[in-house]
Symmetry: C2
Subunit: 418 residues, 2 copies
């Protein structure tokens, strides 16, 4: 019978709605990537009886159960006990885990308590997974054609353990490796891309193409299944090459993570510096650029000129420009980009001015109207955009999309430099 998985998350805090269950999503996506069948998610609280019943239900319909949570030191962390009991196994002290826990607690200057060592008690004969980001080890129990994979609850501990230890374990079962690349698009909608690639996507079996939408961006994942990594790469390369040819104006990078990382890397590579002058985004563009470690080599200065007076005084936007065209105008955007270049000495000046809402819109200048300006020796322009999408959180949406468009224009300008 083909393997199928159930995800069983354990934690009263999920049932109380205190946290959103991102672990299920992380695991689901990872399983989809390697082509594992997954038909059920379940969540139960820290209650051994309900956990036991949920485990029985899960194994009645799937042969692999991945749990998260309940591996910690407190009295209500009972996942290992309950699952070991299901398999008829005892817990025993696992020396290496005991040592990691002691050294981890010492390194983080906390006090070792008896409870902490409970985390080193592991089911007999299980595969122990090291936790590189916390104290509780993970465990895999195999028995009777069933597999229980226990992961810690905190996402920052769970995700790396799942990626680095569970995925290879499951791949080994299947005898295949799956590798993928993410191609990042900006400026084309998911539905447009899906429409254009629909037929191709339907026909492809290996590699496969799957689009993922993120506010204002699309990520296209190319995934190949092969006997080894090299063969997987060889399967993917022709498809990637074709996509780059077909969509060169929209692709901003491969496996690059996000727009700001692409901007920082490309500017650093070309030895260019960039400065920002922001009105409606209020520092969002600067914040996103400086999210990227190493951005200090290419980003020296950002000005948030929320008030007109600051546009004039700090950036040197002319009083007449503001009077005649208003703060939200092509002319102001142009002068802001030029002004911040002058103030900062950067090679590229980027500006954003617009109406983020919810108030301040007029029939001529509605909420969502945004001008993005760029100024450099080799390329200068101003984009006029309407970013209103009638979303519930329109202000955040307009600001985010405006910052993305500013980053995209910055990248285009960096790439245009000979």
């Amino acid at each position: 019978m083909k393997d199928s998985v159930e995800i069983l998350c354990i934690g009263t805090e999920i049932l109380l709605g205190n946290i959103v269950n991102t672990n299920s999503q992380t695991i689901s996506r990872g399983l989809a990537d390697i082509g594992m069948d997954l038909y059920h998610h379940t969540v139960v609280g820290d209650n051994p009886q309900r956990l036991k019943e949920a485990l029985e239900t899960a194994f009645s319909r799937n042969n692999i159960v991945i749990t998260t949570g309940g591996l910690g030191p407190t009295y209500d962390d009972l996942t290992k006990e309950t699952i070991a009991n299901y398999f008829g196994l005892e817990l025993e002290m696992y020396e290496p885990a005991r040592e990691w826990i002691i050294s981890f607690i010492e390194r983080s200057h906390r006090t070792l308590t008896e409870n902490s060592l409970k985390q080193a008690m592991m089911p007999q004969g299980c595969i122990v997974m090291e936790n590189h980001n916390g104290t509780a080890p993970g465990a895999i129990i195999e028995g009777d054609g069933r597999i229980a994979i226990m992961l810690p609850g905190p996402p920052k501990e769970m995700a790396p353990m799942f990626r680095d230890q569970v995925i290879p374990y499951l791949e080994k079962r299947s005898g295949r490796v799956l590798r993928s690349h993410c191609i990042h698009f900006f400026g084309i909608g998911e539905s447009a891309l899906e429409y254009q690639l629909h037929e191709q996507m339907e026909q492809m079996t290996n590699p496969t193409l799957a689009p993922y939408a993120k506010e204002g961006e699309v990520m296209l994942r190319v995934t190949a299944s092969a006997t080894d990594e090299q063969q997987a790469e060889e399967l993917m390369q022709p498809v990637i090459k074709q996509l780059y040819q077909q969509y060169k104006d929209y692709i901003y990078g491969m496996d690059v993570g996000d727009l700001q990382t692409a901007v920082v890397r490309m500017a650093a590579q070309k030895g260019l510096t960039l400065a920002t002058a922001e009105s409606c985004t209020g520092g969002y563009v600067a914040k996103r650029i400086t999210d990227v470690a190493g951005s200090s080599v290419m980003f020296h200065c950002g000005i948030v000129s929320y008030a007109n007076e600051v546009k004039e005084r700090v950036l040197g936007v002319r009083h007449e420009t503001l009077e005649q065209y208003g703060a939200v105008s092509e002319q102001t955007a142009q002068e802001m980009a030029r002004g911040v270049r002058r103030v900062s000495g950067a090679e590229i000046g980027i500006s954003v001015t617009g109406i983020a809402g919810p108030d301040g819109g007029t029939p001529e200048k509605p909420v969502g109207l945004v001008y993005i300006g760029v100024n450099s020796d080799w390329h200068s322009e101003v984009l006029k955009l309407n970013l209103a999408r009638n979303f519930q959180n329109e202000r955040e949406n307009v600001r985010y999309l405006a910052s993305s468009n500013a980053l995209s224009l910055a990248l285009k300008t960096i790439l245009a430099k000979k």
Copy 2:
């Protein structure tokens, strides 16, 4: 028997990890607020057989099942059919729903298809819930002591229907209303607060107190159950008053949402303006302030002085200060706060300078060392903080906590103004 609920979400996109299951969180939180017992979340794909089995499992352990998803127009939307069948009911055309759907589609300039009207087919005798944000109505079926509540999948349709129609329905069953207030703390850890209030929280039954941790902040929810809203308020007031007395240095507001909203509201109320000079946070403080609609009255200018040269040239930090003490120092923070006040003309200048990492740390100035400065006519000071927490995403963490501390210091300064 006391009511207990199971949430059953239907959608293959959740199992593929394409979306995170926020609906379960929204519903869980709402049920916790009104004191309903919830022991299980389940997710299945758009598969009628597995949905049927999951429904049977859910009703074997709970008497109320709330579903999301599968109410739409496509062939794989089969929730109503499956659940009606479970209750032995037929679907029939519900005229008012048919009319809403037609008028909704006309208003949004789309084309009416036969499929769309499938959404107006409702189980016989059910309670129909109008959808004010989409086309698919919700439904409640009662029978044999069991209740199935069907909600649409898109969160912006689901959440208002749940809040405005399901919660009152469930409250009516219990004959009680639950009301709550959120008290926001900054500068005290969840465990410290929990430790101090532990006994009190254990003993309280009405109102109850529950702490929720958010990075660097704690929210304490006070919830009262009563026969009406006024009685609920009367039950909560003494507890709230006592908390304010006990924790006046840590509480930054009630029902205020977040630190930046508290800062903006309080500054606007006092007619004060504020300007920011940021180094390691790179615009994060300005971005958070301008997240708040209406911030333009109190925030006119922010300077991101990532490079020393900009600290000197734009903010007027003295070259000798940077030479002698370095960019990350009490003296530089002081001069940045003073400088941005001068440049902007604001009453309050806030500065942040520190080492966000991952690189740039030294034994004397490690990653996480941050100075926060404030300058005003009535209050000036510099805080020295170490914000490293050994997290995986340390850079983001240090930057976020630094911005929170800057907002907290700004609020303190605003409040200190006579």
